[in-house]
Subunit: 233 residues, 2 copies
DNA sequence: TCAAAAACATGATTTTTATCATGTTTTTTA
DNA sequence: TAAAAAACATGATAAAAATCATGTTTTTGA
């Protein structure tokens, strides 16, 4: 869904919630979509503002985060090519409860609210995929919630590193996490103080599980990291 | 949706996700629904088993909870008349990731999976309400997640008491929470150790905010409780 | 490009929270 | 209904995590 291409031929089409949508509606979306490039740090939308549509990520990376009651960021989701953002508030009929910010230069297509909703009503394939997406996100949120309540920070940090790997994968070298996050962002993903995240990353390094080179994080011993995460499945 | 009544005349119909469903489909559901009474403590479904349908609560109360990796319960949701349970796993195509247990004697109608899914495909009104429900639950989960990551236990306990009040309301006296939960269940809702929950409840009592009489909890000073919860809105 | 700002790192300390221990009360059930 | 079990309560202690302090390194922007 880049400027010069179409939704019909979009590389992410069958990798997204639109995979089951009928051609007829994909064509309609193609007519009305607006494509844009967001630079690293640019805001797609801000907590508290009204949703006017949904955002399809064609390439790049985006973080979705809340501000807690005392102003501290909590990162709710990490998004990549093929993901859609901004549907939660739109479907609830709320303002955005989270902000979306590009983590690197990112190509995004905007689909206006009215069009998205009308297609959702006419295309049960899309509606079903949407429900599946919401259900999966709800599942993830409930698991995370349980882990936040019950697991120590060390385990949650290990889990977060594995989650980052699942989401963005490795660079060509096969061991470096394919995203640059600040220590503060990692802490806000784990749900802890920045210093604690830094300290535990140093421990993981000392234990030989990871290698740290600025914001580059290499996973040296994934199995040990899985053990450190203490997951049941 | 009791045994002797019909979905068409169900007192919860317009108070539920089926509020926008077409009569035609409500009639179909009425034909195939199976109504049951669950005694306090009885299990509707168990984490790990396969979903065969969804459960509509006609009266009574149900808790939905996860087991954490170390076997500790985390209560995910509290459900009441008009609520539907068991749709998450069904829509995701997963096994149940949580168990549902009746908190008191509860009347529940079961709607078989195939019927529910087929109606969902044919009735955009129901599909939309379902998406709205999922979005709202996702929102709630994200807020809770942020609070678990950022707020101290005292604030979370206060918030939990207010949440229980929002969900189940008061008894006729206007101050007693209309549900009986053990201290352990309250702790598993807050995400803390049972002793911590007990201790902080005692503090709230000492501060005159609540009155404790076994499992009966009376809210004496709601405003102070709101302040103790330190919510932003 | 170089000065300022931000991010990173780590030790020391304090606060928060969990765990352990023990006694009491309530609930269950044989 | 009485004995056993479960739940509740609270103090003492230990562990976990946050905060504070300070110095170093990296990044940013004038």
């Amino acid at each position: 869904m880049t400027d010069h291409s179409t939704c019909q031929s979009c590389s992410q089409r069958f990798n997204s919630v639109f995979c089951k949508a009928k051609d007829e509606f994909v064509n309609q979306i193609n007519e009305q979509k607006i494509c844009n490039v967001y630079k690293r740090g640019q805001i797609l939308f801000n907590e508290g503002s009204y949703p006017f549509g949904v955002y399809c990520i064609n390439s790049g990376k985006v973080k979705l985060s809340h501000l807690g009651d005392d102003g501290k960021e909590q990162i709710i989701r990490l998004l990549k090519a093929g993901d859609v953002v901004g549907y939660r508030a739109l479907l609830s009929g709320d303002r955005y409860s989270a902000s979306a910010v590009a983590l690197e230069d990112t190509q995004i297509c905007f689909i206006p609210k009215e069009l998205f909703v009308s297609v959702l009503k006419l295309d049960p394939g899309l509606a079903f995929e949407m429900m599946k997406l919401l259900s999966d996100e709800l599942h993830r949120a409930e698991i995370k919630l349980t882990h936040l309540a019950q697991k120590p920070i060390r385990e949650r940090l290990a889990e977060t590193l594995l989650f980052i790997k699942e989401t963005y994968g490795f660079e060509e070298d096969g061991i470096t996490l394919n995203v640059r996050l600040s220590r503060e962002e990692i802490a806000n993903l784990v749900g802890t103080a920045t210093e604690s995240a830094i300290r535990l990353l140093s421990e993981f390094k000392k234990d030989g599980m990871v290698e740290l080179d600025g914001k580059k994080i290499k996973i040296l011993k994934q199995k040990e990291l899985v053990r450190a995460a203490n997951l049941q499945d």
